[in-house]
Amino acid sequence: MLGLQLAGGPRVRSAETAGPDLPFPLIERFETYGAAEGLPGHKIQCVTRASDGRLWVGTYEGAAVRENGRFHLISTNAGLSHRMVMCLVEDPRRGDLWLGTMRGLNRYSAGRITTYTQTDSGLPNNVIYGLAIMNDSLWVATAAGLGMLELKTGSWKIYDHNNTVMHEPWVYAVKSAGDRLFVGVWGGGILEFEPANGIFKEHRDPDRDMHFDLTPDDGPVSDVTSWIAWDAGILWQSTYFGLSRYDGSRWRTWQEKKSPLPSNFVNFVWARGPVAWVGTDRGLAVTDGSIWANYRTTDQGTGMLEIAAPGRPVENRRMTTALPNNFIHGIWVDDHEAWLATADGLAHAFLAAPRTAGKAGDAKTNPATPSFGRN
């Protein structure tokens, strides 16, 4: 379908003649959800699909869960500790959903909300930016340190500048990565923590100066981490100074103008396999670090797709549908769909089926599959 949606002529080359396969599926179309569809607010901060299939959305006016095609509001009237929901994570062992808000932590368990605040529990601070589950522990990135709630005992531990190498206690993101944890620290880069032995390792921008990035690929692009993502052994760091990737031995960095990254202001990154889905203030970028597909909405409201790959001219395509807003706060992706939390609505992105080598993924059998280059 996408081939027909693209401007510049209906003819699309098959992948075999056009170049290498895309390492990720392209978005075919967007659908938008807002207040008219039952969401409590238009400013969407976070989105996740739970293992039971329910879609959870955190907005600035409460949370919503989508069941049977309808959004159900979870507001402060229902016990939510604050209307501004900043982050969501599912506890796969219990099926509980944890919601981090601007004033406290919430556990949504089978319809019941239990709240935790810095005054009634061991939570470091009420302002919660990120959440992660690691086995039977919940990790909470707060404005005053990293909190860890042992779910079986109810005990809290706090990690901050007093007891770790953390440069500042301002934690913005936390991500579980197998046997370790990555912690995004605002002004402190990234901490890699191995709970088994209690060791913290720092990943810092070697420049030690925020005015410039002296050399590329020398470490995190900045110490001001806005989000982190991890999958398949690859760590991604989003900052307001660009994007970084770490594969365990080597760093890569990207900035606007120096690369296809649409903007240095990167709010969010989602990792799926070797691919990052990057939420910026100028739209969505999808990349494996080499090939980029950037989606944005023009001032006229038109959806645009820009594909950049090494050795090829940048290809711009018009889409028939568009992101509701280019300012992207949160992303959730699987093989078939993506959900995008934007500053003006929730976008549901339908993905084209990925082509695989050896299968004739041409336009005929899979017309939605795009290709590089044109006649």
Binding site: R94, G95, D96, A110, T119, D120, G122, K157, N163
Partner: protein
């Protein structure tokens, strides 16, 4: 001789003078310096010094009894398995001969029992072992031991499309262990309400329902509610958590086979009504909560009658046809028989408003209560034979099992487990403690507010003015020996006074306990050990707990300033009782309080006694300092960082 007398007289006078001088100068100064108060009355050296728990009743050896806890009947009805928690044993009795055939040793205080569908395996929750034991019913040997949450008390066996499941209610960790088989392991640990205490599977095994005994922590000004938790046994996750409004102390849950009902016995609580209204029956009554598992609708039906109450509803079973429910009243020594058909008929014709208000209508019970069957002392757990003909009643404080003909409602006999322990004053005291015979219209027993000697997490208004604006936190009786005086104002000098005339005047609204039973009652209360703490099995403190201990005993603040004696934790909460048994003003006087100084509670088992402070305003230990210690009068805590406060809390939970 005269000289010697003179010398002795002088020596005596010197001694008296020295004593008076010490008393005037050193003792007064010491008292003032340590307490920060000048008007402390009735304080002596022994408030702080030479205190030992070794001599307290709960530290002494006590007799053990053949007290029945959980029951399970074999699929053929031939065998009854009885958990003897006080003996660490399982008794196996022949139901026909009513004889105990075997006893199997099992460690960790066995409590809840369940059998698999073939009766080959017996599942036992070990309440203090934090584990579930799987026994071979052939020879009683332990096939498996699976770690659970803390304080597992009940278990249900369920068969699902994806294998067998065990659903375990963990009373102390407030969660549920869902175990999957081959081998048995924990599939999930969903959260429950507060103190999950009973569990039952749905007829098809796809769901399990967990009744929670205590109300959720909430502001004392709000109406309390406990929870009924619904578990998807296949995934091991909670799927519904419904509030039982103004109801608590559910110790059983049971499905009604012919209906989509799940029944839960409850105590309907109105703790915000002044306790003076006990005389009007407004404080608590027994009821049956009905949950329609299909629609989620919840109703509560009264079990009591206007002038006669049946306190402490505990065990509940429903016959296989779903026609009748049997509810044990642990406080009244009665089995209440409810005709569910008649109850359903009444509900069918009742308006929504009538259904909603039914629990408040104590004239309603005769509509569906068809019998009240007397039992021995303190009937708790119930079991029915598979075909429903025999009702087994664990008469907990008689050390036997009563067998009733469930159809004829007649006694078939008893299985004797022990001698009843009548020569043990602790046992006799527990009988007094659990009996509602002494209270007005048998409305409640001591246990109604102190389940198992602990607390119900509620605040009550005990003021005689009847206004109802002075709620006071109900304190645990566990570990209370040696911590007199009692009451938050410290006015009751002993348990004899507390449980005798004061209790009679304020609560019982009848004559006080006779001297003998009162003596036994206080002996029982003194025998109650402190609640289990979060200390590790090896007794060692974790790093955080050790840091918290240092803070508890600190003499200087984090910034190095000396903490005045009266503001150090360990001055007022001095080990080993963690109380010097004196009133202190810690800046918590409320608008309705007539005093600034409140009795210093002991801290043994304090981690499990939320809410805190005299009026229950602090819902967690943290809140004591984050919200209610603005002037550093309840310890100097304002300069603590959050790590330090968390450490302190972690240490307190180990006491």
């Amino acid at each position: 001789m005269r000289k010697l007398s003179l010398i002795l007289l002088l020596a005596l006078a010197s001694l008296v003078g020295l004593t008076l001088w010490v008393r005037q100068t050193y003792w007064g100064d010491h008292r003032r310096r340590m307490s920060g108060q000048t008007d402390l009355a009735k304080v002596g050296c022994l408030n702080c010094h030479l205190v030992s728990t070794a001599s307290l009743r709960w530290s002494q050896p006590r007799p053990h009894h053949d007290t029945p806890a959980g029951l399970a009947v074999s699929p053929d009805g031939a065998m009854l398995y009885i958990a003897l928690d006080d003996r660490d044993e399982i008794a196996v009795a022949d139901t026909a001969s009513r004889q105990v055939l075997r006893r199997w040793k099992i460690t960790g205080r066995p409590w809840g029992l369940a059998l698999d569908n073939l009766g080959k395996r017996l599942f036992v929750t070990c309440r203090e072992g934090d584990r579930l034991a799987v026994l071979d019913t052939g020879d009683g040997h332990e096939l498996a031991s699976v770690p659970t949450g803390r304080g597992p008390v009940a278990v249900a066996f369920c068969r699902t499309l994806n294998g067998e499941r065990l659903v375990v209610a963990n009373s102390l960790s407030d969660d549920i262990s869902v175990l999957a088989d081959s081998p048995w392991r924990e599939l999930g640990r969903p959260a429950a309400g507060r103190e999950p205490f009973a569990v039952a599977g749905s007829p098809d095994g796809s769901r399990a329902f967990v009744a929670n005994r205590m109300v959720e922590l909430a502001s004392v000004k709000t109406s309390p509610a406990s929870e009924l938790t619904e578990i998807d046994t296949l995934s091991g996750r909670a799927v519904r958590r419904e509030a039982l409004a103004s109801a608590h102390l559910s110790e059983s849950v049971c499905a009604v086979p012919s209906r989509s009902w799940m029944l839960t016995p409850v105590v309907k609580i109105r703790n915000q009504v002044p306790i003076t209204q006990a005389a009007n029956g407004w404080v608590m009554s027994g009821g049956l909560a009905i949950t329609d598992v299909n629609t989620g609708e919840m109703l509560q039906m009264p079990l009591d009658e206007a002038n006669d109450y049946f306190a402490d509803p505990a065990g509940l079973v429903v016959d296989p046809a779903g026609g009748r429910a049997f509810i044990a009243s642990g406080g009244s020594d009665v089995i209440t028989v409810v005709d569910l058909e008649r109850m359903a008929a009444w509900l069918a014709k009742a308006s929504p408003a009538e259904r909603r208000e039914a629990i408040y209508d104590l004239a309603l019970a005769p509509e569906y209560v068809v019998a009240r069957l007397p039992t021995g002392r303190n009937p708790r757990q119930l079991a029915l034979s598979p075909e429903g003909s025999t009702l087994f009643v664990a008469e907990r404080l008689e050390d036997d099992i009563l067998l009733l003909d469930a159809n004829q409602l007649t006694v078939r006999g008893r299985i004797r487990l022990g001698d009843g322990g009548s020569d043990d004053p602790i046992r006799r005291g527990e009988r007094v403690f659990t009996s509602s015979a002494y209270t007005f219209q048998h409305q409640f027993s001591c246990r109604s507010c102190h389940p198992d000697g602990h607390m119900d997490g509620l605040s009550y208004d005990f003021d005689g003015d009847g206004i109802g604006d002075n709620l006071l936190d109900n304190r645990s009786l566990l570990g209370v020996a040696g911590t007199e005086p009692f009451k938050w104002n410290g006015k009751n000098p002993s348990l004899d006074v507390q449980c005798g005339p004061r209790f009679a005047k304020v609560l019982m609204r009848t004559e006080p306990f006779p001297p003998g039973p009162l003596q036994d009652l206080t002996t029982f209360i003194k025998s109650l050990p402190p609640a289990r703490s979060a200390r590790r099995g090896d007794g060692k403190l974790t790093t955080a707990q050790a840091r918290g201990k240092a803070i508890f005993f600190a003499t200087r603040t984090a910034s190095g300033k000396e903490i005045p004696h009266e503001r150090r934790c360990s001055t007022c909460h001095r080990p080993p009782l963690y109380s010097v048994r004196l009133p202190f003003d810690v800046g918590t006087q409320g608008t309705s309080d007539t005093t600034k100084a409140f009795d210093t509670p002991h801290l043994l088992g304090v981690g499990g006694t939320a809410p805190y402070l005299h009026d229950g305003r602090a819902q967690s230990l943290e809140e004591i300092w984050t919200l209610y210690n603005p002037d550093d009068r309840h310890g100097v805590t304002s300069d603590m960082n959050k790590i330090q406060l968390n450490d302190l809390v972690e240490f307190l939970k180990t006491l």
